[in-house]
Protein backbone atom coordinates (compact mmCIF):
# COMPACT_ATOMS: atom_id res chain seq x y z
CA UNK A 1 0.00 0.00 0.00
CA UNK A 2 2.87 2.32 0.73
CA UNK A 3 4.27 1.69 -2.71
CA UNK A 4 1.37 3.43 -4.38
CA UNK A 5 1.23 6.29 -1.96
CA UNK A 6 4.80 7.30 -2.74
CA UNK A 7 3.65 8.56 -6.11
CA UNK A 8 1.01 10.82 -4.64
CA UNK A 9 1.97 14.25 -3.50
CA UNK A 10 0.06 16.88 -1.60
CA UNK A 11 -0.14 20.61 -1.54
CA UNK A 12 0.03 22.11 1.91
CA UNK A 13 -0.30 25.71 3.06
CA UNK A 14 1.86 26.54 6.04
CA UNK A 15 1.34 29.46 8.36
CA UNK A 16 4.55 29.74 10.32
CA UNK A 17 5.65 32.04 13.13
CA UNK A 18 8.73 34.01 12.05
CA UNK A 19 10.72 36.08 14.52
CA UNK A 20 14.29 37.13 13.84
CA UNK A 21 15.48 37.23 17.45
CA UNK A 22 14.33 37.32 21.05
CA UNK A 23 13.62 41.05 21.04
CA UNK A 24 12.07 41.38 17.59
CA UNK A 25 8.36 41.40 16.90
CA UNK A 26 7.22 38.27 15.16
CA UNK A 27 4.57 37.61 12.56
CA UNK A 28 2.90 34.70 10.87
CA UNK A 29 4.04 34.06 7.31
CA UNK A 30 2.35 31.90 4.72
CA UNK A 31 4.16 29.35 2.57
CA UNK A 32 2.66 27.17 -0.11
CA UNK A 33 4.37 23.81 -0.40
CA UNK A 34 3.74 21.43 -3.24
CA UNK A 35 5.22 17.95 -3.74
CA UNK A 36 4.74 16.93 -0.14
CA UNK A 37 5.13 13.17 0.03
CA UNK A 38 2.93 11.38 2.55
CA UNK A 39 6.02 9.50 3.75
CA UNK A 40 7.85 12.64 4.79
CA UNK A 41 8.11 13.45 8.44
CA UNK A 42 6.85 16.87 9.41
CA UNK A 43 10.42 18.05 9.87
CA UNK A 44 11.43 16.73 6.45
CA UNK A 45 8.58 18.76 5.00
CA UNK A 46 10.07 21.81 6.74
CA UNK A 47 13.48 20.84 5.30
CA UNK A 48 11.95 20.97 1.83
CA UNK A 49 10.50 24.42 2.53
CA UNK A 50 13.87 25.57 3.81
CA UNK A 51 15.75 24.27 0.78
CA UNK A 52 13.39 26.27 -1.38
CA UNK A 53 13.78 29.40 0.74
CA UNK A 54 17.56 29.04 0.60
CA UNK A 55 17.37 28.69 -3.15
CA UNK A 56 15.55 31.99 -3.22
CA UNK A 57 18.20 33.56 -0.97
CA UNK A 58 15.74 33.87 1.89
CA UNK A 59 16.16 33.00 5.53
CA UNK A 60 15.16 29.43 6.27
CA UNK A 61 12.76 28.69 9.10
CA UNK A 62 14.70 27.98 12.29
CA UNK A 63 13.49 25.04 14.36
CA UNK A 64 15.16 22.83 16.95
CA UNK A 65 15.66 19.19 15.99
CA UNK A 66 18.36 16.60 16.40
CA UNK A 67 17.82 12.87 16.70
CA UNK A 68 14.66 12.78 14.58
CA UNK A 69 13.64 9.57 16.21
CA UNK A 70 11.62 10.87 19.12
CA UNK A 71 14.07 10.58 22.00
CA UNK A 72 16.28 13.69 22.23
CA UNK A 73 13.40 16.05 22.97
CA UNK A 74 14.76 18.84 20.79
CA UNK A 75 11.79 19.30 18.48
CA UNK A 76 9.24 21.66 19.84
CA UNK A 77 6.54 22.67 17.40
CA UNK A 78 3.00 23.74 18.18
CA UNK A 79 1.22 22.29 15.17
CA UNK A 80 -2.33 23.48 14.65
CA UNK A 81 -2.51 24.43 18.28
CA UNK A 82 -1.34 21.07 19.59
CA UNK A 83 2.11 20.35 20.99
CA UNK A 84 3.90 18.03 18.49
CA UNK A 85 0.78 17.89 16.32
CA UNK A 86 -2.33 15.75 16.16
CA UNK A 87 -0.98 12.25 16.86
CA UNK A 88 -0.92 10.85 20.38
CA UNK A 89 2.45 10.04 21.96
CA UNK A 90 4.34 11.24 18.91
CA UNK A 91 7.02 13.90 18.68
CA UNK A 92 6.94 16.28 15.73
CA UNK A 93 9.90 14.47 14.18
CA UNK A 94 7.89 11.24 14.13
CA UNK A 95 4.74 12.84 12.78
CA UNK A 96 4.32 11.91 9.14
CA UNK A 97 2.58 13.89 6.46
CA UNK A 98 0.26 10.99 5.67
CA UNK A 99 -1.87 12.28 8.51
CA UNK A 100 -2.69 15.34 6.41
CA UNK A 101 -4.74 15.79 3.27
CA UNK A 102 -4.06 17.56 0.03
CA UNK A 103 -4.96 21.20 0.43
CA UNK A 104 -4.65 21.37 4.22
CA UNK A 105 -3.53 24.53 5.98
CA UNK A 106 -1.26 23.96 8.97
CA UNK A 107 -0.35 26.51 11.64
CA UNK A 108 3.09 26.17 13.20
CA UNK A 109 4.08 28.17 16.26
CA UNK A 110 6.81 27.90 18.87
CA UNK A 111 6.13 26.75 22.44
CA UNK A 112 4.60 29.72 24.19
CA UNK A 113 5.48 30.37 27.82
CA UNK A 114 7.27 33.24 29.51
CA UNK A 115 9.71 30.71 30.90
CA UNK A 116 10.53 29.60 27.33
CA UNK A 117 11.47 32.81 25.50
CA UNK A 118 11.66 32.60 21.72
CA UNK A 119 15.23 32.54 20.40
CA UNK A 120 14.34 32.67 16.74
CA UNK A 121 11.31 31.59 14.70
CA UNK A 122 10.25 28.26 16.22
CA UNK A 123 13.26 27.89 18.52
CA UNK A 124 12.76 28.56 22.21
CA UNK A 125 15.08 28.65 25.21
CA UNK A 126 14.28 25.74 27.53
CA UNK A 127 17.24 26.19 29.87
CA UNK A 128 14.73 26.65 32.71
CA UNK A 129 14.37 22.86 32.69
CA UNK A 130 18.11 22.43 33.22
CA UNK A 131 18.00 24.78 36.17
CA UNK A 132 15.15 22.81 37.74
CA UNK A 133 17.21 19.63 37.46
CA UNK A 134 20.31 21.40 38.79
CA UNK A 135 18.32 22.38 41.89
CA UNK A 136 17.73 18.80 42.94
CA UNK A 137 16.97 16.37 40.14
CA UNK A 138 19.81 14.02 41.04
CA UNK A 139 21.15 11.56 43.56
CA UNK A 140 24.36 12.86 45.13
CA UNK A 141 26.63 9.95 44.44
CA UNK A 142 30.10 10.96 43.30
CA UNK A 143 31.74 8.53 40.90
CA UNK A 144 33.47 5.77 42.81
CA UNK A 145 31.19 5.90 45.85
CA UNK A 146 28.58 3.42 44.69
CA UNK A 147 27.86 0.12 46.37
CA UNK A 148 27.31 -3.06 44.38
CA UNK A 149 24.30 -2.56 42.14
CA UNK A 150 22.50 -5.65 43.45
CA UNK A 151 22.92 -4.65 47.09
CA UNK A 152 19.83 -2.43 46.69
CA UNK A 153 17.01 -4.64 45.49
CA UNK A 154 14.08 -2.69 44.08
CA UNK A 155 10.57 -4.05 43.74
CA UNK A 156 9.88 -4.57 40.05
CA UNK A 157 6.70 -2.54 40.31
CA UNK A 158 8.56 0.46 41.69
CA UNK A 159 11.33 0.07 39.14
CA UNK A 160 8.71 0.10 36.39
CA UNK A 161 6.93 3.15 37.81
CA UNK A 162 10.27 4.93 38.14
CA UNK A 163 11.08 4.07 34.53
CA UNK A 164 7.67 5.35 33.40
CA UNK A 165 8.50 8.69 34.98
CA UNK A 166 12.14 8.69 33.88
CA UNK A 167 11.06 8.32 30.23
CA UNK A 168 10.60 12.11 30.09
CA UNK A 169 12.53 13.60 27.16
CA UNK A 170 12.42 17.17 28.46
CA UNK A 171 10.82 18.53 25.30
CA UNK A 172 8.50 20.93 27.08
CA UNK A 173 5.28 19.84 25.38
CA UNK A 174 3.65 19.69 28.82
CA UNK A 175 4.34 23.37 29.36
CA UNK A 176 3.31 24.25 25.83
CA UNK A 177 0.01 22.42 26.11
CA UNK A 178 -0.86 23.52 29.62
CA UNK A 179 -3.44 26.31 29.60
CA UNK A 180 -1.42 27.81 32.49
CA UNK A 181 2.07 27.16 31.07
CA UNK A 182 2.88 25.11 34.15
CA UNK A 183 5.89 22.80 34.33
CA UNK A 184 4.46 20.42 36.87
CA UNK A 185 4.54 17.30 34.72
CA UNK A 186 8.22 17.78 33.89
CA UNK A 187 9.25 18.54 37.46
CA UNK A 188 7.08 15.87 39.01
CA UNK A 189 8.37 13.19 36.64
CA UNK A 190 11.88 13.64 38.03
CA UNK A 191 10.67 13.94 41.64
CA UNK A 192 8.59 10.79 41.24
CA UNK A 193 11.35 8.85 39.49
CA UNK A 194 13.79 9.44 42.33
CA UNK A 195 11.34 9.24 45.22
CA UNK A 196 10.27 5.77 44.07
CA UNK A 197 13.79 4.37 44.37
CA UNK A 198 15.80 3.63 47.51
CA UNK A 199 18.70 5.59 46.02
CA UNK A 200 16.56 8.72 46.09
CA UNK A 201 15.54 8.50 49.73
CA UNK A 202 18.39 10.38 51.47
CA UNK A 203 17.61 13.61 49.61
CA UNK A 204 13.90 13.03 49.21
CA UNK A 205 12.60 16.01 51.20
CA UNK A 206 15.21 18.54 50.21
CA UNK A 207 14.83 17.54 46.56
CA UNK A 208 11.12 18.22 46.18
CA UNK A 209 11.30 21.55 47.99
CA UNK A 210 14.32 22.70 45.98
CA UNK A 211 12.92 21.62 42.65
CA UNK A 212 9.53 23.23 43.23
CA UNK A 213 11.23 26.43 44.33
CA UNK A 214 13.40 26.42 41.23
CA UNK A 215 10.37 25.76 39.04
CA UNK A 216 8.51 28.67 40.60
CA UNK A 217 11.49 30.98 40.15
CA UNK A 218 11.44 30.37 36.41
CA UNK A 219 8.00 31.91 35.98
CA UNK A 220 5.97 28.89 34.98
CA UNK A 221 2.26 28.96 35.75
CA UNK A 222 0.45 27.00 38.43
CA UNK A 223 -1.08 23.60 37.87
CA UNK A 224 -4.87 23.56 37.99
CA UNK A 225 -5.26 19.93 36.96
CA UNK A 226 -6.47 20.28 33.40
CA UNK A 227 -4.34 17.21 32.55
CA UNK A 228 -3.66 18.52 29.03
CA UNK A 229 0.04 17.93 29.78
CA UNK A 230 -0.46 14.19 30.02
CA UNK A 231 -2.40 14.11 26.76
CA UNK A 232 0.31 16.13 25.01
CA UNK A 233 3.29 14.23 26.45
CA UNK A 234 4.97 12.26 23.65
CA UNK A 235 6.06 9.69 26.22
CA UNK A 236 2.67 9.36 27.90
CA UNK A 237 3.88 10.44 31.32
CA UNK A 238 1.03 10.32 33.82
CA UNK A 239 -0.33 13.11 36.01
CA UNK A 240 -0.15 10.56 38.79
CA UNK A 241 3.41 11.85 39.09
CA UNK A 242 2.06 15.31 39.82
CA UNK A 243 -0.08 13.95 42.64
CA UNK A 244 2.96 12.13 43.93
CA UNK A 245 4.96 15.35 43.90
CA UNK A 246 2.16 17.20 45.71
CA UNK A 247 2.22 14.49 48.33
CA UNK A 248 6.00 14.61 48.58
CA UNK A 249 5.88 18.38 48.91
CA UNK A 250 3.25 18.25 51.64
CA UNK A 251 5.23 15.64 53.50
CA UNK A 252 8.50 17.53 53.17
CA UNK A 253 6.92 20.81 54.29
CA UNK A 254 5.24 19.31 57.33
CA UNK A 255 7.68 16.70 58.47
CA UNK A 256 11.19 17.51 57.37
CA UNK A 257 13.44 19.15 59.94
CA UNK A 258 15.79 20.43 57.30
CA UNK A 259 13.05 22.57 55.74
CA UNK A 260 12.85 25.68 57.86
Amino acid sequence: MSGDASHETMRITLKVWRQSNAEADGRIETYHVSDVSPHMSFLEMLDVVNERLLGQGKDPIAFDHDCREGICGACSLMIDGRAHGPEAETTACQLHMRHYNDGDTIHVEPWRANAFPVVRDLVVDRSAFDRIIAAGGFVSTPAGSACDANSLPIAKENAELAMDAAACIGCGACVAACPNAAAMLFTSAKVAHLSLLPQGQPERDARVIAMVDAMDDEGFGNCTNHFECMAACPKGISVENIARMNREYLRASLVSRSVE
Binding site: H107, M230, R244, N246, S253
Partner: protein
Protein backbone atom coordinates in the same frame (compact mmCIF):
# COMPACT_ATOMS: atom_id res chain seq x y z
CA UNK B 1 10.78 29.64 62.49
CA UNK B 2 7.44 29.54 60.77
CA UNK B 3 8.93 30.55 57.48
CA UNK B 4 8.07 27.15 56.07
CA UNK B 5 4.39 28.01 56.32
CA UNK B 6 4.82 31.15 54.28
CA UNK B 7 7.06 29.37 51.81
CA UNK B 8 4.68 26.49 51.49
CA UNK B 9 1.71 28.79 50.95
CA UNK B 10 3.54 30.86 48.37
CA UNK B 11 4.83 28.00 46.28
CA UNK B 12 2.86 26.76 43.33
CA UNK B 13 2.38 23.37 44.94
CA UNK B 14 1.53 24.85 48.34
CA UNK B 15 -1.11 27.11 46.84
CA UNK B 16 -2.62 24.24 45.01
CA UNK B 17 -2.74 22.08 48.12
CA UNK B 18 -4.46 24.85 50.08
CA UNK B 19 -6.84 25.47 47.20
CA UNK B 20 -7.76 21.80 47.20
CA UNK B 21 -8.13 21.56 50.96
CA UNK B 22 -10.30 24.69 51.24
CA UNK B 23 -12.35 23.43 48.31
CA UNK B 24 -12.94 20.09 49.98
CA UNK B 25 -13.88 21.80 53.25
CA UNK B 26 -16.33 23.98 51.34
CA UNK B 27 -17.81 20.83 49.84
CA UNK B 28 -18.21 19.66 53.42
CA UNK B 29 -20.11 22.86 54.15
CA UNK B 30 -22.28 22.24 51.09
CA UNK B 31 -23.17 18.81 52.39
CA UNK B 32 -24.42 20.25 55.65
CA UNK B 33 -26.08 23.16 53.89
CA UNK B 34 -27.97 20.86 51.54
CA UNK B 35 -28.87 18.61 54.45
CA UNK B 36 -30.42 21.61 56.21
CA UNK B 37 -32.15 22.84 53.09
CA UNK B 38 -33.69 19.45 52.40
CA UNK B 39 -35.65 19.97 55.60
CA UNK B 40 -37.72 22.42 53.57
CA UNK B 41 -39.43 19.31 52.21
CA UNK B 42 -40.09 18.04 55.74
CA UNK B 43 -43.58 18.75 57.04
CA UNK B 44 -44.29 21.77 54.87
CA UNK B 45 -40.98 23.28 55.85
CA UNK B 46 -41.50 23.18 59.56
CA UNK B 47 -38.45 20.92 59.73
CA UNK B 48 -36.45 23.72 58.19
CA UNK B 49 -37.64 26.22 60.74
CA UNK B 50 -36.64 23.82 63.49
CA UNK B 51 -33.25 23.33 61.90
CA UNK B 52 -32.65 27.09 61.77
CA UNK B 53 -33.71 27.35 65.36
CA UNK B 54 -31.37 24.53 66.24
CA UNK B 55 -28.47 26.33 64.61
CA UNK B 56 -29.40 29.60 66.26
CA UNK B 57 -29.20 27.80 69.57
CA UNK B 58 -25.43 27.56 69.20
CA UNK B 59 -25.23 31.32 69.74
CA UNK B 60 -21.66 32.63 69.69
CA UNK B 61 -20.43 29.25 68.46
CA UNK B 62 -22.48 29.72 65.33
CA UNK B 63 -20.87 33.10 64.76
CA UNK B 64 -17.49 31.46 65.17
CA UNK B 65 -18.44 28.82 62.60
CA UNK B 66 -19.65 31.53 60.26
CA UNK B 67 -16.39 33.39 60.64
CA UNK B 68 -14.53 30.17 59.91
CA UNK B 69 -16.61 29.75 56.81
CA UNK B 70 -15.86 33.29 55.73
CA UNK B 71 -12.16 32.61 56.22
CA UNK B 72 -12.42 29.47 54.09
CA UNK B 73 -14.19 31.37 51.34
CA UNK B 74 -11.74 34.27 51.46
CA UNK B 75 -8.78 31.93 51.33
CA UNK B 76 -10.25 30.03 48.40
CA UNK B 77 -11.14 33.24 46.56
CA UNK B 78 -7.80 34.92 47.26
CA UNK B 79 -5.87 31.93 45.96
CA UNK B 80 -8.16 31.70 42.95
CA UNK B 81 -7.39 35.31 42.10
CA UNK B 82 -3.69 34.78 42.53
CA UNK B 83 -3.57 31.58 40.55
CA UNK B 84 -5.61 33.05 37.74
CA UNK B 85 -3.55 36.21 37.49
CA UNK B 86 -0.26 34.32 37.71
CA UNK B 87 -1.37 31.80 35.15
CA UNK B 88 -2.37 34.53 32.71
CA UNK B 89 1.01 36.15 33.29
CA UNK B 90 2.84 32.89 32.64
CA UNK B 91 1.95 33.05 28.96
CA UNK B 92 1.89 36.68 27.91
CA UNK B 93 2.17 35.81 24.26
CA UNK B 94 -0.79 33.58 23.48
CA UNK B 95 -1.16 31.08 20.69
CA UNK B 96 -2.74 32.22 17.45
CA UNK B 97 -4.29 28.76 17.18
CA UNK B 98 -4.82 26.48 20.10
CA UNK B 99 -6.63 23.15 20.32
CA UNK B 100 -6.91 20.89 23.30
CA UNK B 101 -6.65 17.13 23.42
CA UNK B 102 -9.87 16.55 25.26
CA UNK B 103 -8.44 16.43 28.75
CA UNK B 104 -9.34 19.93 29.76
CA UNK B 105 -13.07 20.24 30.29
CA UNK B 106 -15.66 23.00 30.32
CA UNK B 107 -15.47 22.74 34.08
CA UNK B 108 -11.67 22.99 34.25
CA UNK B 109 -11.30 25.97 31.94
CA UNK B 110 -14.20 27.89 33.49
CA UNK B 111 -13.18 27.55 37.13
CA UNK B 112 -12.53 31.24 37.59
CA UNK B 113 -15.71 32.27 35.78
CA UNK B 114 -17.92 29.78 37.62
CA UNK B 115 -16.21 30.71 40.86
CA UNK B 116 -16.91 34.41 40.25
CA UNK B 117 -20.54 33.67 39.40
CA UNK B 118 -20.90 31.61 42.56
CA UNK B 119 -19.41 34.48 44.56
CA UNK B 120 -21.90 36.91 43.02
CA UNK B 121 -24.71 34.52 43.75
CA UNK B 122 -23.44 34.01 47.28
CA UNK B 123 -23.71 37.72 47.96
CA UNK B 124 -27.28 37.81 46.64
CA UNK B 125 -28.06 34.66 48.60
CA UNK B 126 -26.80 36.22 51.84
CA UNK B 127 -28.77 39.40 51.17
CA UNK B 128 -31.88 37.35 50.40
CA UNK B 129 -31.74 35.42 53.65
CA UNK B 130 -28.94 35.85 56.11
CA UNK B 131 -29.10 39.62 56.17
CA UNK B 132 -32.78 40.00 55.22
CA UNK B 133 -35.11 41.63 57.75
CA UNK B 134 -37.33 39.12 59.44
CA UNK B 135 -35.70 36.00 57.97
CA UNK B 136 -35.29 34.36 61.33
CA UNK B 137 -38.95 34.96 62.21
CA UNK B 138 -40.12 32.52 59.55
CA UNK B 139 -37.25 31.01 57.53
CA UNK B 140 -39.42 28.68 55.42
CA UNK B 141 -41.74 31.55 54.55
CA UNK B 142 -38.80 33.68 53.50
CA UNK B 143 -37.52 30.91 51.25
CA UNK B 144 -40.94 30.37 49.71
CA UNK B 145 -41.38 34.09 49.23
CA UNK B 146 -38.06 34.43 47.43
CA UNK B 147 -38.08 31.30 45.30
CA UNK B 148 -41.63 31.57 44.13
CA UNK B 149 -40.68 34.72 42.26
CA UNK B 150 -39.70 33.62 38.74
CA UNK B 151 -36.71 35.99 38.50
CA UNK B 152 -35.16 34.71 41.70
CA UNK B 153 -35.98 31.10 40.92
CA UNK B 154 -34.19 31.32 37.60
CA UNK B 155 -31.12 32.85 39.26
CA UNK B 156 -31.09 30.12 41.89
CA UNK B 157 -31.47 27.42 39.24
CA UNK B 158 -28.61 28.85 37.21
CA UNK B 159 -26.51 29.11 40.35
CA UNK B 160 -27.10 25.45 41.12
CA UNK B 161 -25.96 24.49 37.62
CA UNK B 162 -22.92 26.77 37.84
CA UNK B 163 -22.03 25.20 41.17
CA UNK B 164 -22.29 21.79 39.53
CA UNK B 165 -19.96 22.87 36.73
CA UNK B 166 -17.49 24.23 39.29
CA UNK B 167 -17.59 21.00 41.25
CA UNK B 168 -17.32 18.85 38.13
CA UNK B 169 -13.68 19.86 38.02
CA UNK B 170 -13.11 21.06 41.56
CA UNK B 171 -13.97 17.92 43.48
CA UNK B 172 -11.81 15.56 41.43
CA UNK B 173 -9.09 18.17 41.18
CA UNK B 174 -8.88 18.71 44.93
CA UNK B 175 -7.88 15.10 45.51
CA UNK B 176 -5.17 15.35 42.86
CA UNK B 177 -3.92 18.58 44.48
CA UNK B 178 -3.52 17.10 47.91
CA UNK B 179 -1.75 14.13 46.40
CA UNK B 180 -4.51 11.58 46.77
CA UNK B 181 -4.03 9.67 43.56
CA UNK B 182 -3.72 6.01 42.79
CA UNK B 183 -5.04 4.10 39.81
CA UNK B 184 -7.58 2.39 42.08
CA UNK B 185 -8.69 5.69 43.60
CA UNK B 186 -8.56 7.69 40.38
CA UNK B 187 -11.01 5.42 38.60
CA UNK B 188 -13.50 6.06 41.38
CA UNK B 189 -12.73 9.78 41.61
CA UNK B 190 -13.28 10.32 37.89
CA UNK B 191 -16.85 9.15 38.30
CA UNK B 192 -17.32 10.58 41.77
CA UNK B 193 -16.44 14.05 40.53
CA UNK B 194 -19.32 14.01 38.08
CA UNK B 195 -21.66 12.36 40.60
CA UNK B 196 -20.90 15.01 43.20
CA UNK B 197 -21.47 17.77 40.65
CA UNK B 198 -24.82 16.36 39.59
CA UNK B 199 -25.82 15.65 43.17
CA UNK B 200 -25.34 19.24 44.31
CA UNK B 201 -26.72 20.78 41.12
CA UNK B 202 -29.88 18.69 41.39
CA UNK B 203 -30.06 19.04 45.15
CA UNK B 204 -29.82 22.81 45.28
CA UNK B 205 -31.59 23.24 41.95
CA UNK B 206 -34.61 21.35 43.25
CA UNK B 207 -35.64 24.16 45.60
CA UNK B 208 -36.31 26.89 43.01
CA UNK B 209 -38.00 24.28 40.78
CA UNK B 210 -40.18 23.16 43.65
CA UNK B 211 -41.16 26.64 44.80
CA UNK B 212 -41.73 27.94 41.30
CA UNK B 213 -43.77 25.08 39.91
CA UNK B 214 -45.04 22.83 42.66
CA UNK B 215 -45.54 25.00 45.65
CA UNK B 216 -48.66 27.13 46.26
CA UNK B 217 -49.12 29.61 49.10
CA UNK B 218 -52.25 27.85 50.25
CA UNK B 219 -50.62 24.47 50.74
Amino acid sequence: MLRWIGNALNSSVGKKIVMGLTGLLLVGFLVEHLHGNLKLYEGDGTGFNEYVEFLQGFGPLLVLAELGLVALFLCHIFLALRLTLENRQARKHRYAVRNNRGKESFGSVSMFATGALILGYLIKHLIDYRFADGFFDDPKGAVANTLSQPGNAVIYMIAAVVLGVHLSHGFRSAFQSIGASHPKLDAILDKAGIAVAVFFAVGFGSFPVYYLFFWSPSS
